[in-house]
Amino acid sequence: MHEFSIAEALAAQVLRHTPAGALVRGAEIRIGALRGIEPAALQMSWQAVTHGTAIDGCLLSVEQLPWTITCSNCGRSWSSQKPFVDCVCGDTSPTPTGTDELDLVSITVDEEDSR
């Protein structure tokens, strides 16, 4: 459950970036395929670590980047959620390449605007 450590670090970051008096609606993060993060476990951890804090109820949006699959036999390249897949040309071992992003991208906040 490294998702819990990640959720803890993320919650601290979101709190740090929240402007005074703003209500945080959401946090948007991006995760590379290599990381092997389980979205359900991350959401569960997120709810647990934010519960009772100033960002309780903040919606976590996760963009999971796919694997890039490259076939050395026919030269095709495509995106896939799974690393080990067959190519349509019949090759059974195209190369999976993933990235290891684990980034906070943005936060969505409600701000009171005085006019």
Binding site: H2, G36, D103, L104, V109, D110
Partner: protein
């Protein structure tokens, strides 16, 4: 004057584990200043991490001055085993934690006299998934697999394989008794990490330890600038 609520999206690009990575970077600098080659040993429970380190420390004898940090959930057993072979061992109890983090390694290193030390082994918590994403300040990540785990373990743990600087395949002495497909295992590793060295070892019989130690010596020479 009226009040209106507006919803805005604020870009805050930042690595989520940035705080961990900063501590790790400081540790890496400190170790480099001392010429210490540090490895993060990652493997499943029962893959033989402690047994491999025992055999390694025994083989190194007086040729090297190693230090060991060993992460474990609750017990001191691994630390006690390793302390028979090395007098610079710190046990890190992680409680419920499934992996080591950079702060724990920094704090454990502070308990050691590193004068003259040239090798640092960090035995991570037995786990093939969680430890991989947490930089500890090591020079190299070593992924330890073993024949008894089955030959699909590399394919099932792509992050470790892709990030590893060395793959060790332990318990090679058991090959005659198991159906482990070594060629298939190696092919999976190669798909994820085409250039990583793979060394077959047996912590029990000592087979392959010379190659593993030669790899350590090469890394150590690079760090200490004596290559």
């Amino acid at each position: 004057m009226t009040y209106e609520t507006r919803t805005i999206r604020l870009p805050v690009p930042e690595r989520i584990l940035g705080a961990n990575d900063e501590i790790a970077a400081a540790t890496r600098q400190g170790l480099a200043r001392r010429g210490i080659f540090a490895i993060d040993l990652i493997g499943a429970p029962g893959s033989g991490k402690t047994a491999l380190l025992e055999a390694t420390l025994r083989s190194l004898g007086d040729r090297r001055r190693p230090a060991v940090l060993v992460g474990d959930l609750a017990t001191r057993r691994d630390g006690d085993r390793l302390a028979r072979w090395c007098n610079r061992v710190v046990q890190i109890s992680t409680g419920q934690g499934c992996h080591l983090e950079a702060g724990q390694v920094r704090d454990a290193l502070a308990k050691l006299d590193l004068e003259g030390v040239d090798l640092l082994f960090v035995e991570n918590v037995g786990n093939l998934i969680c430890p991989v994403g947490f930089d500890l300040g090591q020079n190299a990540k070593v992924g330890l697999f073993s024949l008894t785990e089955g030959d699909d373990k590399a394919a099932k743990h792509p992050y470790l394989v892709a990030e590893a600087d060395l793959i060790l395949l332990n318990k090679i002495d058991l090959a005659p008794h198991l159906t482990f497909d070594r060629a298939g295992f190696e092919a999976d590793v190669r798909l994820l990490n085409p250039t990583v060295p793979i060394i077959e070892v047996s912590a029990t019989t000592g087979a392959g330890l010379d190659k593993w130690i030669a790899w350590l010596e090469a890394g150590s020479a690079e760090v200490s600038g004596t290559s």
